[in-house]
């Protein structure tokens, strides 16, 4: 069950429209490493998780991603509101406008519609958590790329907030590998010498 709170997780107030930028940022709405894929991935992976820490973190981060989806939608909306016909044409927004007018449609920056093929639910805690760690870094890279394309502080500020959340989520997912259940799964059947190497690689990496 979910309960909606009528406010954004982080304030957004964009004064200047920029349809070109909106078309890039929409990547994080319905693109391969976007917030919709993130939320669906975590909330779906929960059901196959055997350990309490993992059920909790996937529920909570999956929920926070919905709040981020709302933030990205808000940025796209505020960058494309009250456009004149000339601004639509000049901003290269006409192709999008024909299909969706001023609505926010889940697609990537080239117009490719959202698909569940962007995510995986493997039903194996080690496999799924590693996908989640990768997903957080891919989203972080996408936000880094978005930041290359704008000087507008009204846009950069919330995008930097979202970027930082990817880093925090990566950290939380990494910490689950220390919890009793999954740590046992990772090391199950691994020969002692290789275990030492694996232990070093996985554990110190996420510190």
């Amino acid at each position: 069950m979910w309960e909606y709170q009528k406010h954004l997780q982080y304030p957004i107030n964009i004064k200047n429209t920029n349809p070109k930028l909106a078309q890039l940022i929409i990547a994080q709405y319905g693109g391969p490493d976007g917030e919709m894929a993130a939320s669906l991935r975590y909330l779906s992976q929960r059901f196959g998780m055997p350990y309490p820490e993992l059920k909790a973190i996937l529920t909570d981060i999956g929920t926070e991603e919905l709040a981020h989806l709302e933030m990205v939608g808000t940025i796209v909306h505020q960058l494309t509101r009250n456009l004149t016909e000339a601004q639509i044409k000049e901003g290269g927004f006409d192709a999008y406008f024909v299909n969706h007018t001023n609505g926010v449609y889940p697609s990537d920056s080239s117009g490719m519609p959202f698909t569940a093929a962007y995510l995986q639910v493997k039903g194996d805690p080690i496999t799924d958590i590693h996908e989640d760690l990768a997903a957080e870094q891919k989203a972080r890279s996408t936000y880094d790329n978005i930041l290359r394309f704008t000087d507008d502080p009204d846009v950069r500020d919330p995008i930097k907030f979202l970027r930082e959340r990817e880093v925090v989520h990566y950290q939380r997912f990494g910490e689950t590998k220390r919890t009793t259940g999954i740590h046992g799964d990772i090391t199950k059947g691994v020969p002692p010498a290789r275990y030492a190497f694996l232990y070093y690689c996985t554990m110190s990496f996420y510190d």
């Binding site: 909606y4 009528k6 406010h7 820490e53 909790a56 973190i57 709302e70 939380r172």
Partner: protein
């Protein structure tokens, strides 16, 4: 920044800090210090929310003084400036 915006900023800061502690506790369930801090931040957010609602009207559906009709009122989060002004 108006008085209303300042208050809203503080409420959101406490809410966000509470959330951060909440997900931290998911992977550190035995951390009593974090649990205590979470309780304190939640209390601060609740107190300030009560102050805000007394002065500027209802904030959320779950608030006791919110009617269904107040809930549907504009502005919604994607249209709104910080502090609830359009």
């Amino acid at each position: 920044m108006s008085e209303q915006e300042r208050l809203m900023r503080r409420i959101n800061a406490y809410r966000f800090a509470s959330w951060e502690l909440h997900i931290f506790l998911d992977t550190h369930p035995g951390d009593c210090k974090a649990a205590k801090q979470l309780e304190e931040y939640r209390r601060m957010a609740d107190d300030l929310t009560a102050q805000y609602e007394a002065a500027y009207g209802p904030m959320n559906q779950s608030s006791s003084n919110t009617s269904r009709w107040a809930w549907i009122a504009d502005p919604w989060p994607w249209d709104v400036n910080e502090g609830g002004t359009k």
